[in-house]
Symmetry: C2
Subunit: 159 residues, 2 copies
Amino acid sequence: MPLGFEKHDHSTCIKDALETAESYCASENLQLTKTRRRVLELLLHEHKALGAYDILATLSKEGLGTQPPVVYRALDFLVANGFVHKIEKLNAYSACTHPGQSHTPVFMICHKCNAVVEAQTKPLRGFLGVAAKAAGFLIERTVIEAVGLCPTCQENTPA
Amino acid sequence: MPLGFEKHDHSTCIKDALETAESYCASENLQLTKTRRRVLELLLHEHKALGAYDILATLSKEGLGTQPPVVYRALDFLVANGFVHKIEKLNAYSACTHPGQSHTPVFMICHKCNAVVEAQTKPLRGFLGVAAKAAGFLIERTVIEAVGLCPTCQENTPA
DNA sequence: TATGTGGTGTTATATTATAACATAACGGAT
DNA sequence: ATCCGTTATGTTATAATATAACACCACATA
């Protein structure tokens, strides 16, 4: 399965993700406005997480707004609708690479190059569910993040 | 297994945890100074996460320091040595309830009453490890947090 | 045309965290 | 005993992240 640290045709993956977002918004009567679309695009261009203020700096240059609420509103929309995830460990945001699929995302964060890859691990949800059930806890959302070294940075950082 | 939302003898669990911390520090030549000890104590008194500035407010009343670095330094020490965990989702801190045991902690966070319970789920580490291995990723730390409703709040919040 | 809903613009502020530099306390090597 | 490295504390200032609150606008529809 495509787990993400490999090279790939990036322009295609951006285009696909934008199209998916557009058609989903159309079907759900959601407005993918100029600023929202641009924020999603900026995040799709990276395989790393961007801070809200990094994004705001770009929006600002492009005349799309200068104040924090501009970017936080766009991010709220994108997160609420599953196009973007917040990486809690980094207080930063990353485009969803499995849009449309309901999922319990797992993020692998390289602390050297800051790459962020979103993996799918269905069994994980099951195990968390079992632990939660034993405690009588009702899970609504999960945050699962692993911090470490991506394959490339392991090679360049020999033990 | 004791998963934590049940009632228990709280004064005993605080005392035990402090003693464990003390003997560990003694054996490792770590200094559990007055402020560090007090911060750990404050966190042990709660089964919820406290923000750094909440803790600082108490320290300040007690004459243990008034500036942010005071509490962040104490928290850094306690986190680095495994006595306290940071709850990333809340930007807050919670005393470790399994001190001394090497573990991949899983937190269940009630968004109604703010209770935080730390569970142990060994299999989870395994599954994350498998996913990471498939991606060639080397895990160093993990953040696993579930947000939802604790048993008590489920009862008081009928569907 | 009135009214509700959702989106934007803007000012101000809250919350969380760290940089940087000075001082102190202690232990071991010379 | 003094020098020096290490660790901890005190303090000022500021950085980084996030939200409250209110005014305005556009559009749909009753």
